[in-house]
């Protein structure tokens, strides 16, 4: 009876998954392996992927750099929040979440307004007599956009890991002769590992497939794989090649999360 109920209750979700995840996945696979004009099976889309490898490399690089910058910026913030009083923790947690309440598109557009050639920053520079700078359409602007948008995804898992570290372990390390710096290196940091890995994954995965940030903040030389896919679908009229790229991107994301999970697997027992 109970079993029947649980199947009944999960039916809507299963149907949803089949209709909007599994079937589309199959469609993507189908498109990737068929000819755009005749619709017959072909490897040509897959073979063409080789030419896009540099774009893939660029996407991975930008995302990794962004994820690492997020880690460097996010760790101290998460550490700070985790060591406040209960009320302060809640307030700061809310503040970290706050930007996520605003549209992602809007947040990125706001940066355009700040960085563009006649934007706020450049106008300020001009007003005080300094030369205008090339801020927008640079790799740095793309990385900035990624870091700005995805930083909360780094801070939140870090915070929830750090806050769970037993304070007595810190005392134990000090008791055994560790200076505060050594305690951090030998105890706090290793015990933060699950949070670090999940933060890196949570930043890397959306960053590697983004197109909006690079379109708005990047230039001709900062094309990411997401941009290419979008263009193939919307302008290039080659949905089949786009599907093949999507497939490759998906595999890439799976491999990355797989590696992260493997690295984190060892620590998993620690957190639970």
């Amino acid at each position: 009876m109970k079993k029947n109920n649980s199947i009944l209750l999960s039916t809507p979700y299963i149907l949803w998954m089949v209709a909007f995840t599994l079937i589309p996945l199959g469609v993507v696979g189908y498109y990737a392996l068929t000819d755009p004009d005749t619709g017959v099976f072909t490897w040509s889309n897959i073979r063409e992927l080789g030419t896009y490898l540099p774009v893939f490399g660029q996407s991975i690089m930008y995302s990794l750099v962004s994820a690492l910058i997020c880690l460097i910026l996010g760790y101290p913030v998460a550490y700070y929040i985790a060591h406040r009083g209960a009320v302060m923790q809640k307030i700061l947690y809310m503040l970290v979440m706050l930007p996520m309440c605003m549209s992602f598109l809007l947040r990125t557009l706001a940066w355009v307004g700040l960085l563009q050639d006649t934007g706020i920053i450049n106008n300020l520079l001009a007003a005080v007599g300094l030369p205008r700078l090339q801020l927008i359409r640079t790799p740095a602007a793309v990385v900035l956009g990624m870091v700005y948008n995805y930083l909360p995804y780094m801070i939140l898992p870090l915070y929830s890991t750090i806050v769970k570290i037993d304070h007595r372990l810190i005392e134990a390390a000090e008791d055994l002769g560790c200076t505060p710096a050594e305690t951090f290196r030998k105890v706090t940091l290793p015990l933060s590992m699950p949070g670090i890995l999940s933060g890196l994954t949570m930043v890397f995965v959306p960053a590697v497939s983004t197109f909006y940030i690079s379109q708005k903040l990047g230039g001709a030389d900062t094309v990411l794989i997401g941009d290419v896919i979008e263009r193939l679908y919307k302008q290039g009229n080659n949905a089949n090649l786009g599907a093949a790229l999507s497939l490759l991107l998906m595999i890439l994301v799976f491999v990355c999360t797989g590696i992260m999970n493997r690295l984190g697997g060892d620590e998993e027992a620690v957190v639970v």
Partner: protein, 373 residues
């Protein structure tokens, strides 16, 4: 015999205006096994944490080997701690946990290896080197915690209720084990517990604490036989505590009757607390008794019966190996050495009456304290 190692002078500690420690004065000798004993919230853990360097006292001084160490951080003290519930590093295995302190102190690799294996042997955990901490039982974790602290050869080992989480049998084994290790290694142990039996069986010196103050310091026998006030008499073992009047040296009057005793040095007719241990009372036929009472309850305890006997409205606990049924009338005799006289204190009248007796009374004291801060 031994020289003084640690001294606490006029130590007070306040958290948010609440006074946790109130004028602690105590010295601890080298190689001593000293126990801080008291109920939950008495300040024993706070005292230990001050010695360990995790808390800075509000006022007063802590000296170690004659030097003031109030502001010396934990990592610079020659003191190691066995924490309540162990605080082992979950990301390291048994070997790495034990080697932790040696590595921090840059001990050569081969010496680390030798000393870790030596410690594993001491705590009987050979072959467990590469077990993960989470795969160990409570008793094994306990021993890793002790090994992790002892391997550094500290001058002083602080133990914060280290056996609290173990079952009774394991606790008894570990008590003997700890005592053996302490004697073999010649390290000063400062041990915190709320378990009076543990304190009595392991310690060289017991410090009984309550309400942030030291109530009595002494050898286990002295604490048991010569409790200073009603709190100590009640907390250590079982006690019947009655109001009495010291007529003169060696003469005390209670229940309208004058008894011989072995205490002196009180003012004439000074009101006192009289302590009579339940196991010291001889039961005799009513006509031969100093006092005659009625048995109101009997509990079989294995080794003996605990019987509650009512004398003129006051209930006593008596331990006897002979069965006396509920409702029977018995007489008791008290020898002079069975009667212990204490000065009146703030605790007078609060303890030692078994009117609200229940069979769980000894468990109550054991459950009382777990964690305090």
């Amino acid at each position: 015999m031994s020289k003084e190692l640690i001294r606490l002078r006029d130590l007070t500690m306040e958290f948010d205006g609440e006074r946790i420690l109130d004028g602690i004065n105590l010295y601890i000798n080298d190689h001593e096994f000293l126990t801080l004993l008291g109920p939950s919230g008495c300040g024993k853990t706070t005292t230990l944490r001050i010695i360990g360097g995790f808390l800075t006292p509000t006022s007063g001084t802590v000296t170690f080997d004659g030097k003031r160490i109030n502001d010396v951080p934990p990592y610079e003290r020659q003191i190691n701690t066995v924490f309540q519930r162990y605080a082992l590093f979950p990301h390291l295995d048994v070997y790495d946990n034990i080697a932790f302190g040696l590595r921090v102190n840059k001990v050569p690799k081969d010496e680390i290896d030798r000393r870790v294996h030596e410690m594993l042997e001491v705590v009987s955990l050979k072959g467990y080197e590469h077990r993960r901490i989470n795969n160990l039982s409570g008793g094994q974790q306990q021993r890793v915690a002790i090994a992790r602290a002892l391997v550094n050869r500290p001058k002083v080992l602080l133990l914060d209720e280290p056996l609290g989480a173990l079952d009774l049998r394991l606790r008894k084994d570990m008590q003997n084990e700890l005592k053996r290790i302490q004697q073999a290694m010649g390290i000063t142990f400062i041990y915190v517990t709320h378990d009076q039996e543990e304190a009595l069986s392991m310690s060289d010196t017991i410090v009984v604490m309550d309400k942030g103050r030291i109530q009595q310091i002494g050898k286990p026998e002295d604490i048991y036989n010569e409790p200073k006030n009603a709190f100590v008499a009640d907390f250590i073992g079982e006690s019947n505590i009655l109001d009495g009047v010291m007529l003169s040296d060696y003469k005390v009057k209670f229940f309208g009757r004058v008894f011989d005793c072995v205490d002196k040095g009180f003012a004439p007719n000074e009101p006192v607390d009289v302590v009579i241990r339940p196991e010291d009372i001889d039961i005799v036929p009513p006509q031969q008794g100093h006092l005659v009472g009625t048995v109101t309850s009997v509990t079989f305890k294995g080794l003996n019966y605990d019987i509650i006997v009512e004398f003129k409205g006051f209930k006593w606990l008596i331990q006897t190996t002979d069965y006396h049924g509920e409702g029977s009338t018995i007489g008791i005799r008290l020898n002079p050495e069975d009667i212990h006289i204490m000065k009146k204190s703030e605790y007078s009248g609060m303890f030692g009456d078994y009117s609200s007796y229940s069979a769980e009374y000894d468990e109550l004291t054991e459950d009382a304290g777990d964690e305090e801060e």
